[in-house]
């Protein structure tokens, strides 16, 4: 008989955590993890694995957890994933591994994400580190961007013996893991930094403060600096705005700005010089992970927060856990609502937002029911801050400065899925720069594919 529910995971009390930036979820203890592992049926034909973009041997590692052999479990995960402590925390498990788990048909699925997180945290706490290859093969590869795709690609290449340098535009490596996803979901010093250190421990050099396309171009890296191949993992960082009146008023921010100020630049910590406008009443426009992160950040900085989203709850693209946490913490959801104008006071500051009510019509290309305006239903929300979280697209900085690198009409770099090959010889790409904004695990998988592609390319030369 299977226990019908997951072993509950300990979390910070919603009232307490709404006022701090410490991690919300406290994770399993070894006993809890072993108990949860008992729920896995060790399927012969494990559906869960097909739901994981990097095909972690899920039953394999869970069996080791069941036996209490965590080090072995961590090795099994390590064969497929370079960032398990991150993915265990931020993967949308409900639509990936856990969404396919057989136990989930009648009961709650096995808590694969939390188990993975436990194993990765345990390995870190017990100092299990990847081994540095004894000798390099003398071939130099450049990786652009230090997000999940770049880190994974660099790590894989280093393991194969390549001399890898990562070039990062910002002053800290980590990409969205550092500037976007907040501390309370993904601790920087505790979880992200050690994952980056692991990559460095493999011999990878990280040079920050280098903007490829500005400080140096890809062609120069190849022709002047002796790199034989390049992987582009530059993400999709360009924020979109709605184009409605009042959007340039003081107090309107992109989620990227708001989150960067708080995460990368640590505005929440008074030791840091970064200013941030906290606002008393904040609207976050959008319904993805980014919107949830911005909303919960504003809440922690002391604001009353409304998430304004034009579809209904079931269409919210954010992870279920984030929506649940946001609600518990007191974020208010104004669903089926769309902004039409930002109202501005005489000094140029936001004073409110005019919105219109929506209803769901026929499904659109994405299969989700299309929101349509209800005529005459306009109303005003009184606000002092608006955070736009409408999605991002790849920055054209690299594509526009690299000869012969093809992009599609959304400015995404065109690259093949299995090897990351682009239209330019020796140049590979993957992650959000290729797909547009997606997920950590997909970016990681693409980094892995790129490493494979580069290895094939350089070994056949």
């Amino acid at each position: 008989m299977i226990v019908s529910k997951k072993v509950p995971v300990r979390e910070q009390d919603p009232k307490v955590r709404a006022t701090n930036f410490d991690e919300v979820c406290l994770g399993y203890s070894k006993e809890e993890a072993m108990q949860e592992a008992e729920r896995c049926l060790n399927c012969k034909n494990p559906k869960c694995v097909s739901g994981c973009p990097v095909s972690i041997d899920i039953p394999g590692f869970i069996q080791e957890v069941k036996n209490g052999n965590i080090e072995q479990a961590s090795k099994i995960i390590g064969e497929a994933s370079a960032l398990p402590a991150v993915c265990g925390r931020v993967c949308p498990q409900e639509s990936q591994c856990e969404g396919k788990c057989i136990v989930g048909i009648k009961n709650e699925p096995v808590s694969i994400g939390k188990l993975e997180r436990f194993v990765a945290d345990w390995a870190r706490e017990n100092n299990i580190k990847p081994e540095r290859p004894a000798k390099t093969n003398g071939h130099k590869v450049a990786v652009i961007g230090s997000g999940p795709s770049g880190l994974t690609c660099a790590g894989d290449l280093a393991k194969m013996g390549y001399e890898v340098t990562i070039f990062e535009a910002l002053h800290e490596p980590g990409g969205v893991l550092v500037y976007g996803i907040p501390e309370f979901r993904l601790p920087k010093a505790g979880v992200v930094a050690p994952e980056i250190d692991n990559v460095k421990a493999l011999g990878v050099e990280i040079e920050t403060d280098v903007v490829i396309g500005k400080s140096i171009t890809i062609d120069e890296l190849l022709e002047e600096e002796g790199f034989e191949a390049v992987f582009i993992g530059s993400g999709a960082g360009l924020p979109m705005f709605m184009g409605i009146p009042g959007e340039n008023a003081n107090g309107v921010f992109s989620a990227n700005e708001y989150l960067t100020r708080n995460n990368l630049m640590k505005a929440f910590d008074s030791k840091y010089a970064t200013p941030i406008i906290t606002g008393k009443k904040v609207a976050v426009v959008g319904g993805g992970n980014v919107a949830m992160d911005a909303a919960r950040t504003a809440l922690r900085l002391g604001a009353e927060v409304h998430v304004v989203y034009r579809r209904s709850e079931s269409e919210l693209p954010a992870r279920v856990e984030e929506v649940h946490h946001a609600k518990e913490e007191g974020v208010i959801f104004d669903l089926l609502t769309n902004p039409v104008e930002i109202l501005v006071d005489d000094n140029g500051w936001v004073k409110g937002m005019k919105c219109i009510r929506m209803e769901l019509g026929e499904p659109d290309e994405s299969g989700r029911r299309r929101p349509v305006e209800i005529a005459g239903s306009e109303f005003e929300l009184e606000l002092d801050t608006v955070i736009m979280s409408l999605g991002t697209s790849p920055n054209p900085l690299i594509s526009s400065t690299t000869k012969g690198l093809d992009v599609n009409k959304r400015k995404c770099i065109i690259a093949d899925e299995t090897l990351g090959k682009t239209s330019k010889e020796g140049v590979y790409a993957g992650g959000d720069a290729v797909t547009g904004a997606a997920t950590v695990i997909l970016a990681m998988g693409a980094g892995r594919a790129g490493a494979k592609g580069i290895h094939e390319f350089l070994s056949s030369k």
Binding site: A169, T208, K214, L238, S254, R261, M265, G348
Partner: protein
């Protein structure tokens, strides 16, 4: 770490530093900027590239102390380092993209206000190196606030200096000088490049629009990353919203919505920052516009 190989105070509260940053020095062009971070807890501060030495691998910055970050930066000495120094950012000045021969047939006027003299200098110098003499107007509050005079004298064709209080050379605002050159002396300029406080650029643009003189300005909105990732730097130019850090910082001044840009620049102003800006804008009023009629 990026070592400061030379640091000096040019005048009261305006500092010049040469910083070792070989990658930036190698690839930068006039019109571009850098972002510097002092230390672990510091902000990302954007500063225009004022000069560079490709051989020595150094980049020159000139900054005025405004609020906490720039005041702390002013304390750095030769031998100290910036934690971060990233660039070059933004687009190079349009001038250097143009064909040299067609540039040689153009009469170019630069208008620099206050610390804006620093970013004007490399462009004037670049033209000089390519055999082109440009006219330059420099406005300062008072004689003591004037910077880079000797350097500018060497690089410029005609240099017109004006001070608010008349303590040096001409007395009055930069717009007065433009009027004098164009209307009284009948000089026909093909383009004008104005860099200085927003308020100065605004009034220069109002005037040059009347004079039908195409004008480029260099905007300095609030920035975070400087790579197009945050949108903090957005400005309205004509009907479009542009990100100054990647689409600029130079724009067609006749299309820029300066009132919006000035409001946005106030967003995070510290109290002391506001004070200094008031002072600065006050002085460019007297040193600059002739239209505004107030210390608002």
């Amino acid at each position: 770490m990026f070592e400061i190989v030379n640091a000096r105070e040019l005048t009261n509260n305006i500092y010049l530093m040469d910083v070792k940053a070989p990658r930036v020095a190698k690839s930068c062009e006039p019109g571009q900027f850098v972002i510097v971070i002092m230390d672990e807890t510091g902000e990302r501060v954007p500063l225009t590239i004022c000069d560079y030495d490709r051989k020595a691998g150094t980049v020159t910055i000139v900054f005025q102390t405004i609020g906490a970050s720039t005041q702390m930066m002013a304390k750095l000495k030769k031998g100290d380092s910036f934690k971060d120094f990233v660039g070059p950012l933004g687009c190079a000045s349009e001038l250097i993209e143009e064909d040299i021969e067609s540039l040689k047939n153009k009469k170019i006027l630069f208008v620099a206000g206050g610390v804006g003299t620093a970013p004007v200098y490399p462009q004037v110098k670049w033209l000089k190196e390519h055999g082109i003499d440009a006219d330059v107007i420099v406005g300062a509050k008072t004689k003591d606030m004037l910077i880079l005079e000797d350097e500018m004298r060497k690089a410029a064709g005609n240099l017109y200096i004006t001070t608010d209080d008349g303590s040096y050379e001409r007395k009055g605002m930069v717009t007065e000088v433009i009027k004098d050159l164009v209307q009284n002396q009948g000089i026909k300029y093909d383009c004008c490049i104005a860099i200085g406080p927003m308020i100065m650029m605004k009034f220069v643009c109002l005037l040059t629009k009347e004079l039908d003189l195409p004008t480029i300005v260099s905007l300095n909105p609030i920035m975070v990353d400087g790579t197009g990732m945050c949108g903090a730097c957005r400005v309205t130019v004509g009907d479009e919203v542009k990100f100054a850090c990647v689409d600029g910082p130079e724009f067609d001044g006749h299309l820029v919505n300066f009132d919006e840009a000035m409001k946005r620049q106030q967003m995070y102003k510290s109290e002391e920052g506001r004070e200094i800006l008031k002072l600065q804008e006050g002085d460019t009023h007297h040193g600059g516009c002739g239209h505004c009629g107030g210390e608002k």
